[in-house]
């Protein structure tokens, strides 16, 4: 019988507000008619349907608001409260019945609007399909939240219209109250769940408060402000107690993880030293700044036409354009031998370029701090970043020039500096972006190309043979490990300690990047548990990788937590994101090193073959035994490197997806 009571109550509510359904249908039909009329009068415009359907959708929250505001207050306003409440039916069941009725109405209205709005959207244009997205994703919770907020407001003021205006204001204190719980959601859940869960949290809070307000309103016949204030105070205290607890817990996690990471070999002291006033001669940032100034003077110096003697077809280009991109412009632009020789001379002998090269060499060798910009100054960062690219490009050109002159030792030394500047560039990238960008900053193929893209001339044979002898030492691939070891403390400092207010105003080359007051509020007070949890997780996972690196074992992926390799964590864990690519790189690091070394060696051998035979071989096997005694491990039967003759040149690549797994997915392409 009691269930029948609930059914009767729901029937009564639905019947009482059936006009809303009629209204929604009428409004949407009206829109449909207007839309059709518009279409008939002016058919060239295709978007009426979408416009009117969106308008129809926009009406829904308004209707939800009215339903929410009237469901409960109508009993007070029509004075039927005593009649309903004197039925032998629990007040909580009445609350549930009314609440569910409102939700049913809301769903019916949504479905009607959804179907009709879809129909309107298709008016005059059959190709427009209604976007079903909103109904399937979490924004659908927002009308429900609106409904709940208005119910609470209506029970507080017991008037329908004022409650619609009060409802949005309630969000402010509610946000303050449940803010710590929101942080807990961030703390415990992945990002895709955060917004729906926060919406649900608000809904639960509003339902709970509405229930209390209703009980207070019907049992004691007084306005429920006092009980709501008390409840909110309790929730507030609970929420913040919970927040403090997880803050302490997460701080302990960070302390533990950092101690473990230090033990594993991460040098967090480097970061501390960065904060001290490092003497200029030891601070690469200072040296780099000088290099950048030098770069500016070189740019100015070569805004001329004296070296290249520019032709009509390239009148917009200056000498600087040719100098800084010799390594590829000499391929794409037809220059005379004379012009190319002049550029090479400038690149090798110009005192400013030599000075710049030495500065970079010196700066790259220094132990401390290779960034040279304030961490919050993105403009400066970008400028610095772009300058490093220019410097890299200039040094690449110089390597290519030295190679073409057959100066092996100098070319290799230049290539070495090229690696170093790449390393600095990668560090800078790691500081501002997830470190996988930093890893991709290393372009092995560019360096190989600058050393190898020499003229196919018998005069180059001695150079290539010497290079072949040195190729075994081409193990610079280790730098991905080094960037990892360097950048973990950097990521830690940048995303954790800097946010936790750490600044040294004395040192203009280093700054926390955060206004201390806002940092205190943001990190220590609001976001700290989330941030600390991620930091701890990042440090523990980095330590795991570091330990594997030290034992020099291959890293089977199974050793790492599944979520770490799973795309889900990718979104909400910035630190994991930072590590993500390392895992793939490191898992196959031995293979990667071998592959890069083999590609280099094979490329030299192919060049020698072409000079000797006037063409490239059909397959690698033709290189044995005259040029190389045997094929490297990653060629031949294993077939992991793919070789193709393309035009006048060739390409060696890791090719298929399987080879991609080797960790090296680039291609060496020589067009001459």
């Amino acid at each position: 019988m009691r269930t029948i009571g609930m059914k009767a109550l729901i029937w009564k509510e639905l019947r009482e507000y059936r006009m809303f359904i009629v209204a929604a249908v009428m409004i949407l039909i009206f829109f449909k008619i207007v839309c059709v009329i518009f279409w008939k009068i002016y058919p060239v415009h295709p978007d009426y349907g979408m416009y009117f359907s969106v308008t129809g959708w926009a009406l829904l929250p308004l209707l939800f608001s009215f339903i929410g505001s009237m469901t409960f207050t109508s009993e007070f306003q029509q004075n039927t409260k005593a009649f309903l409440l004197t039925k032998p039916f629990n007040t909580s069941k009445i609350f549930i019945g009314k609440y569910i009725s409102g939700l049913i109405l809301l769903i019916i209205l949504s479905i009607i609007s959804f179907l009709l709005a879809g129909d309107i959207a298709g008016t005059g244009n059959k190709n427009i399909f209604w976007d079903y997205g909103p109904i399937t994703t979490y924004p659908v919770l927002l009308p429900v939240l609106t409904y709940n907020l208005i119910i609470l407001a209506s029970l507080m003021v017991r008037q329908s219209l004022p409650s619609i205006f009060l409802a949005p204001l309630l969000l402010i204190p509610e946000t303050v109250i449940i803010c710590p719980f929101m942080i807990c959601i961030y703390y415990y859940c992945s990002l895709e769940l955060v917004l729906p869960l926060i919406a649900l949290l608000f809904i639960v809070l509003n339902v709970a408060l509405s229930y209390l307000a209703w009980q207070k309103a019907v049992a004691k016949d007084i306005k429920p402000w006092k009980i709501l204030a008390k409840t909110c105070a309790v929730v507030f205290v609970l929420a913040w107690t919970f927040h403090v607890m997880i803050s302490i817990q997460s701080q302990l996690q960070v302390n533990y993880a950092k101690a473990k990471a230090e033990k594993a070999g991460f040098d967090f002291n480097i970061i501390n030293k960065m904060c001290e006033n490092v003497p200029d001669e030891q601070n690469s940032a200072v040296v780099y700044r000088e290099a950048r100034r030098k770069l500016e003077s070189i740019k100015t110096k070569f805004k001329t036409n004296d070296v290249i003697k520019k032709s009509e077809e390239h009148k917009d280009w200056t000498d600087w354009d040719y100098i800084c991109s010799y390594h590829y412009k000499c391929e794409t632009v037809k220059l005379t031998d004379d012009q190319m020789a002049r550029i090479r001379k400038v690149l090798i002998d110009d005192e400013d370029i030599v000075k710049l090269w030495s500065l970079i060499k010196k700066g790259s060798d220094l132990e401390y701090y290779r960034l040279g910009v304030k961490s919050n100054d993105y403009n400066a960062f970008t400028e610095h970043w772009v300058d490093l690219r220019w410097i890299m490009s200039l040094i690449e050109s110089r390597t290519a020039a030295l190679a073409e002159e057959g100066r092996v030792e100098e070319a290799l030394a230049s290539a070495d500096v090229e690696f170093k500047i790449m390393h600095s560039y990668a560090q800078l990238t790691a500081y501002f972006y997830p470190t996988h960008y930093a890893i991709s900053s290393y372009s092995y193929d560019k360096i190989i190309k600058s050393l190898l893209n020499v003229p196919l001339d018998p005069a180059m044979l001695p150079y290539l043979r010497k290079l072949m002898l040195q190729s075994e030492g081409f193990k610079r691939i280790d730098f991905t490990e080094q960037i990892f070891i360097d950048s973990v403390p950097m990521v830690y400092v940048h995303y954790y300690e800097n946010m936790m207010v750490r600044s040294n105003p004395k040192d203009d080359s280093y700054d926390s990047g955060f206004d201390p007051k806002s940092a205190v509020l943001y990190t220590n007070f609001i976001m700290s548990p989330y941030l600390k949890k991620d930091t701890a997780s990042f440090l523990l996972k980095s330590t795991m990788i570091m330990e594997d690196l030290k034992t020099n074992k291959p890293l089977p992926r199974i050793q790492y937590p599944r979520d770490f390799l799973n795309g889900k964590i990718f979104m909400n864990n910035y630190f994991s994101y930072a590590l993500y690519d390392y895992l793939y790189e490191f898992e196959y690091r031995d293979a990667t090193k071998a592959v890069v070394s083999d590609m280099f060696k094979l490329s030299i051998a192919l060049k020698i073959f072409k000079i000797q035979h006037g063409k490239y071989p059909e397959k690698f096997e033709q290189l044995v035994p005259d040029i190389i005694p045997k094929l490297p491990a990653y060629t031949g039967d294993k077939g992991k490197l793919q070789y193709k003759i393309i035009g006048n040149g060739f390409s060696i690549s890791t090719g298929n997806q399987k080879s991609y797994r080797l960790g090296y997915n680039k291609e060496i392409y020589m067009d001459r």
Binding site: M1, I4, G5, K7, A8, W11, K12, E16, Q78, N79, T80, A82, F83, L85, T86, K87, P88, F89, N90, T91, V218, A219, K220, D221
Partner: protein, 294 residues
């Protein structure tokens, strides 16, 4: 206690800081009685009834309605009580039939025959919309709903106020008839006294938050009497009678209403003041009410 349909002890209710609507009343309504709860407007009757129905929380004291505390177990109380509120409002957009269906779904017991007989007695049909009913018909519908769930106790909170005399008489007659047919406890609150005298077998009189009197109507009428005294000279200035509620003098004659009348009282007065004529008059309930609260 088992013989009591309603029992309260020291029941108090305050609105805000100062206004004390009910000032600690001890109300006892025997089962099977028709208890008329009298009081002027604002005496605290409706507040008391709301507390009896669990619609209002008490500040102090205890309540038992059909053996249950309405605050702790409101459902048990409400399933045993038929209630018609003062100016009862129902869902005006419903028809009588819909309202009866709606109401019926909340109760385990329901007397459909009684519904039909009462509807025909009141000349009502199920398809009538509530918003089209007169006040009298509206009150009749409320009464039908209160009675057809077969309640052990019917609480009527001033159902006849606002009705014109003809409708009021008709309404009261139907109540009397229905009550004669079935034995129920009825708690009838009103300030229109003369209509309920025929009905009442117990009377409670509420005034300014206090329950002045609560007893069977015969006992009340025996206790509250008017003495008519005529003196040869003027009425003595020091005339004072124990339990005097009211004194009206005119010339040589004085009418004294007393609340605790006994035969010895007349002897005491005769001996003390020597009136020429001394007679005892029996009062109507309305007179008693006016004497007590006027």
């Amino acid at each position: 206690m088992n013989n009591l349909a309603i029992s309260t002890q020291g029941l108090k209710k305050k609105y805000g800081w100062k206004k004390e609507a009910v000032k600690g009343i001890d109300l006892q309504v025997p089962k099977g009685s028709v208890y008329v709860f009298l009081g002027r407007n604002g005496a605290g009757k409706t507040t008391t009834i709301k507390m009896l129905m669990g619609l209002l929380a008490r500040d102090f004291g205890s309540i038992e309605v059909m053996g249950f505390d309405p605050e702790k177990d409101p459902v048990s109380v409400r399933s045993r009580v038929g209630y018609v509120a003062e100016n009862q409002k129902m869902y005006d957009w419903m028809t009588i039939g819909e309202l009866i269906w709606f109401d019926k779904s909340f109760y385990q017991k329901w007397d459909d025959k009684l519904v039909d007989s009462l509807l025909s007695r009141f000349k009502l049909t199920k398809d009538l919309k509530l918003k089209n009913l007169s006040r009298g018909m509206y009150a009749q519908v409320a009464l039908i709903l209160a009675l057809c769930q077969d309640p052990e106790l019917v609480i009527l909170d001033d159902p006849i106020s606002g009705l014109d005399p003809v409708v009021r008489r008709e309404f009261m007659e139907s109540i009397i008839e229905i009550l004669h047919e079935r034995e129920r406890t009825v708690f009838f609150s009103t300030h229109i006294v003369n209509e309920v005298e025929k009905l009442a077998d117990h009377v409670g009189i509420m005034h300014d938050g206090n329950l002045l009197s609560s007893m069977p109507i015969d006992e009340l009428k025996n206790n509250v009497k008017r003495l008519r005294l005529i003196f040869e000279d003027k009425v003595p200035e020091d005339l004072s009678v124990a339990g005097m509620l009211k004194k009206e003098s005119s010339g040589h004659e004085v009418l004294v209403t007393v609340k605790d009348f006994r035969k010895e009282l007349m002897d005491e007065i005769t001996n003390k003041y020597r009136p020429k004529v001394a007679e005892v008059q029996t009062l109507t309930l309305e007179d008693i009410f006016i004497a007590m609260v006027g």
